[in-house]
């Protein structure tokens, strides 16, 4: 079986790099996109096993829009093949509280599977990624 493919959508190349290193070291295939638009396109083309998505990119809500687009219930959605891809959302410290969500409570509100905080702790990242990829399979 091929290595699980992970798409990282984040406009900060250093954060992408910091995640790429531990993920590749653990036999994940990592592809990245530096904006929401590119991310959506890659998600549609590559159908990754997991998407790691930053909340804030160009705008404060770009990450949300990407998540909504990927989870769209619309029959004609061009991302309908992406609906089942788990999403791990990156939030920054003290950013989460201003939005006040948690995956259990607000999944309907924000269609993502889990959160990870910046700065990235590799151990934490690997644990969450593994859980999401396994669950998907």
């Amino acid at each position: 079986m091929a290595n699980p493919k992970i798409l990282i959508i984040d406009d900060d190349p250093d954060i992408v790099e910091a995640m790429r290193m531990p993920l590749e070291a653990n036999d994940y295939e990592v592809i990245s996109a530096n904006c929401g638009k590119e991310g959506l396109q890659k998600a549609r083309e590559e159908i990754p096993d997991l998407i790691i998505l930053d909340v804030m990119m160009e705008t404060d809500t770009e990450g949300f829009h990407v998540a909504y687009e990927l989870r769209s219930e619309n029959q004609d959605s061009e991302y309908k093949n992406c609906r089942k891809i788990p999403i791990l959302m990156i939030t920054a410290i003290s950013q989460k509280k201003s939005m006040s969500f948690s995956p259990e409570k607000d999944e309907a509100f924000l269609p993502v599977n889990d959160f990870i905080e910046k700065p990235i702790q590799p151990k934490d990242l690997l644990k969450k990624v593994a859980e999401l990829v396994v669950n998907k399979e």
């Binding site: 790099e17 531990p22 920054a92 003290s94 910046k118 990235i120």
Partner: protein, 457 residues
């Protein structure tokens, strides 16, 4: 702004005129009662032969007039505020004018120029000075003088019959022209001098009142300007810290990856240095987070819909859950006394979380191994309180007032915990104040500290 000051000042001064007119009306009730009582006492007890009927008729007329005044005062309605004011000024003029006539009639029926009631003209002059402008007051005084002169002359030449009160003046003196002249002279001069003195004082007072209003406005404006500056400063801090966060997060994330060997093998020394760098950036991130929390409390009042009803027992439980590892690591004995019933506080949930996290984190940080922390939740009729007590290092009495200052850290706190932003309690205080609450600290050096936050229900 000048326009605002002007309208404000006008508003206050005119508001006062209306109040005084009303006060004048009230005074007239007392006058009527006074006239009736004095004349009855004079007539029946002192046996002074007053013409009781005309006096009582005058009193009744004043009474009726006052009814008209009070009705008008209540139902005075005009299109604009300035018309309303003008109407009140005219109203005051009319009242004083009518009072002069009533007074001169009373003087006539109690002995004309010989009557002691004549002294009452003086206090009417004072009332005019209080109610009216300087010019109007002099005009009114002149009108009174005219009335007095006319009455004495008309009585002197017997066009109006003189009423003699024999008990007071057994011999007629109103027809003594020298007496008449001297009395008139002194009466007129005292009226004008009273008018002069009273208007001077009244004008002084009005001037002062205006000055006070302007001063108050200036202070209010200055205060608002300061508040605005402070808010701008907070917003600036917020933006700056916000910008700092992203690169710091990136640095920290990269360092962590290097440290854990994902960028290839590194020497022990390099690893040690990386860990040290990481610790420093970690501190910077904490500082950024604290600064964000700090300015959040300052940026503005919470919006209504941000607040939610939060059970304080639940909130404490949730915060402790996140800190249980720290508590366990120090083997701290933790006691939580919740309230019997859930106690709900209307607050922004994140604000309460930040408050509790900071308070409990401090307690854990500054309590030695095997120490104890007690959290008490209370609620009274008008307050909800959360009290966090520890058996930690305590706060020196000189430091108690300073610990809420931004970046202040007590020396014993620095000795225990090198890293610390000195912002925790400032954050707590700001957030507590943001929700209309209070924070209180009781501490004894070396024994422990109790911090109580209370919120109005």
């Amino acid at each position: 702004m000048p326009y605002n000051t002007h309208t404000q000042e006008r508003y206050l001064v005119e508001e006062e005129l209306i109040e005084r007119v009303f006060w004048f009306i009230t005074l007239r009730w007392i006058t009527v009662a006074g006239i009736c009582t004095t004349s009855l006492i004079a007539y029946f007890i002192l046996n002074i032969g007053l013409p009781l009927i005309p006096i009582l008729i005058i009193a009744t007329c004043i009474l009726l007039f006052n009814f008209v005044c009070i009705t008008r005062h209540h139902y005075i309605k005009c299109i604009s505020y300035s018309q309303y004011i003008k109407s009140h000024q005219r109203f005051a003029n009319l009242q004083i004018f009518t009072d002069w006539i009533a007074l001169v009639l009373l003087v006539h029926y109690t002995g004309g120029i010989e009557s002691p009631v004549i002294f009452y003209f003086i206090f009417h002059v004072i009332i005019a000075a209080i109610l009216l402008s300087r010019k109007a007051c002099y005009l009114q005084t002149s009108f009174a003088v005219l009335l007095i002169i006319s009455l004495s002359i008309l009585e002197y030449v017997n066009i109006i019959p003189h009423v003699q009160i024999k008990e007071l003046f057994p011999n007629l003196i109103y027809d003594n022209s020298l007496y008449l002249l001297s009395t008139l002279f002194f009466c007129i001069t005292s009226l004008y001098v009273s008018a002069y003195l009273a208007t001077s004082i009244a004008n002084q007072i009005r001037k002062r009142e205006k000055e006070i209003v302007i001063l108050k406005d200036t202070i209010t404006d200055a205060y608002q300007a300061l508040e605005k500056k402070d808010r701008e400063k907070s917003e600036f801090t917020y933006k700056v810290t916000h910008e700092l966060r992203a690169p710091l997060s990136a640095i920290q994330s990269l360092l962590k990856s290097i440290e854990e060997g994902y960028a290839g093998e590194i020497s022990e020394k390099a690893k040690e240095l990386i860990i040290r760098s990481e610790k420093r950036t970690g501190f910077l991130l904490t500082l950024v987070k604290d600064l964000l929390d700090l300015v959040t409390g300052k940026i503005g009042k919470p919006r209504e819909h941000d607040s939610k009803s939060v059970d304080i027992n639940e909130a404490v439980k949730r915060t402790l859950h996140l800190m249980q590892e720290k508590v366990k690591a120090k083997n701290i004995k933790l006691t939580v006394n919740t309230t019997e019933q859930p106690v709900c506080l209307n607050i922004i949930p994140d604000d309460l979380d930040i408050i509790l996290t900071n308070l409990i984190d401090n307690a854990v940080k500054y309590t030695q191994k095997d120490g104890a922390i007690t959290i008490n939740n209370y609620s009274t009729d008008d307050k909800i309180m959360i009290e966090v007590s520890d058996t930690g290092i305590g706060i020196h009495k000189d430091d108690v007032n300073k610990i809420f200052d931004e970046f202040y850290r007590a020396s014993n706190a620095k000795a225990v915990e090198l890293d610390g932003t000195g912002l925790g309690l400032t954050i707590v205080k700001n957030l507590v104040k943001r929700h209309g609450g209070n924070i209180d600290v009781n501490s004894e050096l070396g024994k422990g500290t109790t911090v109580t936050v209370s919120f109005p229900v």
